[in-house]
């Protein structure tokens, strides 16, 4: 019965498959990163996380590169979805360091917070995050939300500030990230503070937000102030005269139990990081399509951090 030997071979192969599964990340995933399991927590190694947008990926590479330069074994785990997901990843120790924004952190943990002063927002963020986490020094680099329009729209509708939108926004389409709709520093705040409401809300992510504006599918877009696409497409950023968008300084969010280990390296990065530097780097990753890791290393070398 030759057939039966074949079948028992299949059974053995299947059993191997099962045990490979039970053993957790076998080879292919081990090469991928210390994603789950206990490896992330082991002795000195640090995993720097990044969220699902270019700037976060870039900053994660900058942090990891700076840590490596100080002899700390650091890897990155980028593309971790939305804030809700990556904050849980920090809390369950899958990652230990994450690039964050002061205002976004403060509002995430205190939904009603509406402070705008940079130092005040930083202190607020520091006080509301869970005890297991801490923020290191904030950088001068800021990446605030902003409302942008095309030059043509700005001229024809005579728009300079967000206030100017009030009269015309009823027939306009706003393109923004889905979460922008619910944030006090988004649609909610725009209505409350400026009385500006839009006819249609078009929820998009990544470059698609800016593309919708450039392609004419949206009249106004929520673009990050560091986005190199603003200059590249000759867009006009409407002035936020009443400071709805608050302060969003880039800051390393780290696990409290790792703070001492990473503090020196990351504070040194924050000391050198400026809005202009971030914008320049983003131009290289998003417009020139360079590898974020290479761009990060270049920045670190240029600033004596690498």
């Amino acid at each position: 019965m030759k057939r039966r030997t074949v079948l028992s071979t299949v059974a053995v192969v299947a059993a191997l498959g099962l045990s490979a599964c039970g053993g957790g990340g076998s080879d292919p995933l081990a090469s991928d990163a210390p994603s789950g399991g206990s490896s992330g927590a082991s002795s000195g190694s640090i995993v720097v996380g990044g969220a699902d947008f270019s700037e976060s990926t870039l900053l994660a590479e900058v942090y990891a590169g700076a840590l490596r330069a100080k002899g700390i074994d650091a890897t990155t785990k980028t593309n971790i979805g939305a804030r809700e997901i990556y904050l849980r990843a920090l809390e369950d120790n899958s990652v230990q360091v994450f690039p964050e924004y002061t205002g976004a952190l403060a509002v995430f943990y205190d939904k009603s917070y509406s402070g705008t002063d940079a130092t005040e927002v930083y202190d607020k963020a520091k006080s509301v995050i869970p005890k297991t986490l801490t923020v290191l020094d904030k950088s001068a680099a800021e990446d605030v939300d902003s409302l942008a329009v095309t030059k043509k729209t700005a001229e024809s509708k005579n728009l300079k500030t967000i206030e100017d939108l009030k009269a015309v926004s009823g027939d306009m389409t706003l393109a923004a990230q889905p979460e922008f709709k619910q944030r006090p520093q988004g649609v909610v705040g725009l209505e409350k503070v400026y009385g500006v409401t839009f006819g249609t809300f078009r929820p998009l992510t990544g470059q698609a937000v800016l593309q919708a504006l450039v392609n004419g599918q949206a009249d106004v877009a929520n673009v990050f102030s560091t986005d190199p696409g603003i200059a590249a497409n000759d867009l006009v950023v409407l002035e936020d005269t009443k400071k709805v968008f608050g302060s969003q300084n880039i800051v390393p969010l780290v696990r409290a139990d790792k703070a001492d280990q990473v503090k020196d390296a990351l504070n040194a990065v924050s000391a050198k990081l400026t809005t202009d530097a971030v914008t320049q780097m983003l131009k290289q990753t998003d417009i020139d399509k360079k590898d974020p890791k290479a761009v990060a290393e270049e920045f670190l070398k240029a600033n004596g951090l690498g």
């Binding site: 990340g25 292919p28 971790i80 990652v95 998003d286």
Partner: protein, 215 residues
């Protein structure tokens, strides 16, 4: 194809992860589907119940399943096991019915002949019924393989890396080379798995070739 030339190592790594995340559930799912399919045949009354319940599992959107898994399993949020378990659920959803149909496709007279020759119980199942059901099960397995490879891409949204990363990043940064590489690599992987299953099925059913069956 400059992009591929610069990044082939990454593509290879991601392909291996992708293969693991789609392939392991395929094997585990098949093993779990065997008793389910067998039960659906043994107790004919349970057939609609098995088919409907497993079919229902398939309507759960994968992103939702990936996100909810850590809560149900108590695993870490970025643990690839979440994706492996979710994919196993989808595989079982597809295969339980196929296994039942495959076993049901064994002609009665063959089963009776096997019984008359002394094949009983498990020995008849593994020695006669399952081998004869291989063509139908393999057909279902091929669908499951292609489907798994496609669904796994979504895991990028919950931070588990595989070829889907190329799709998401390519879209986000508008890098056509990356996006197209992601699409082609996923297809190649699906077709490769498909080929492996076809070859395995052919090896397991030598009598069909002997009979000169087309394939």
């Amino acid at each position: 194809m400059d992009w591929l030339a610069d990044n082939w190592r990454t593509v290879l790594d991601l392909s291996l992860s992708h293969l693991y995340l789609a392939g392991v559930p395929l094997v585990v799912g098949l093993v779990l589907s065997l008793p389910l399919g067998w039960a659906a045949k043994r107790w004919r009354g349970s057939y609609p119940a098995v088919v409907t319940t497993t079919g229902l599992l398939y309507t759960i959107p994968s992103l939702a399943l990936f996100v909810i898994m850590p809560l149900v399993l108590g695993t870490k949020i970025l643990d690839p096991v979440n994706v492996v378990v979710a994919m196993t659920i989808y595989t079982v959803a597809l295969l339980a019915r196929t296994v039942a149909d495959g076993l049901l496709s064994v002609p009665d007279h063959v089963e009776q002949a096997a019984t008359a020759m002394g094949y009983r119980g498990l020995r008849r199942l593994f020695g006669v019924e399952l081998p004869l059901a291989v063509p139908v099960i393999a057909a279902g397995l091929r669908v499951a393989a292609v489907s798994n490879v496609s669904i796994v891409s979504i895991a990028s949204v919950v931070g588990v890396s595989q070829l889907g990363n190329l799709l998401v990043d390519g879209y986000r940064r508008i890098i056509w080379g990356e996006l197209l590489t992601g699409i082609v690599a996923t297809m190649v992987l699906a077709l490769l798995l498909d080929l492996v299953i076809q070859t395995l099925a052919r090896t397991l059913t030598p009598w069909r070739r002997a009979a000169g069956a087309r394939s």
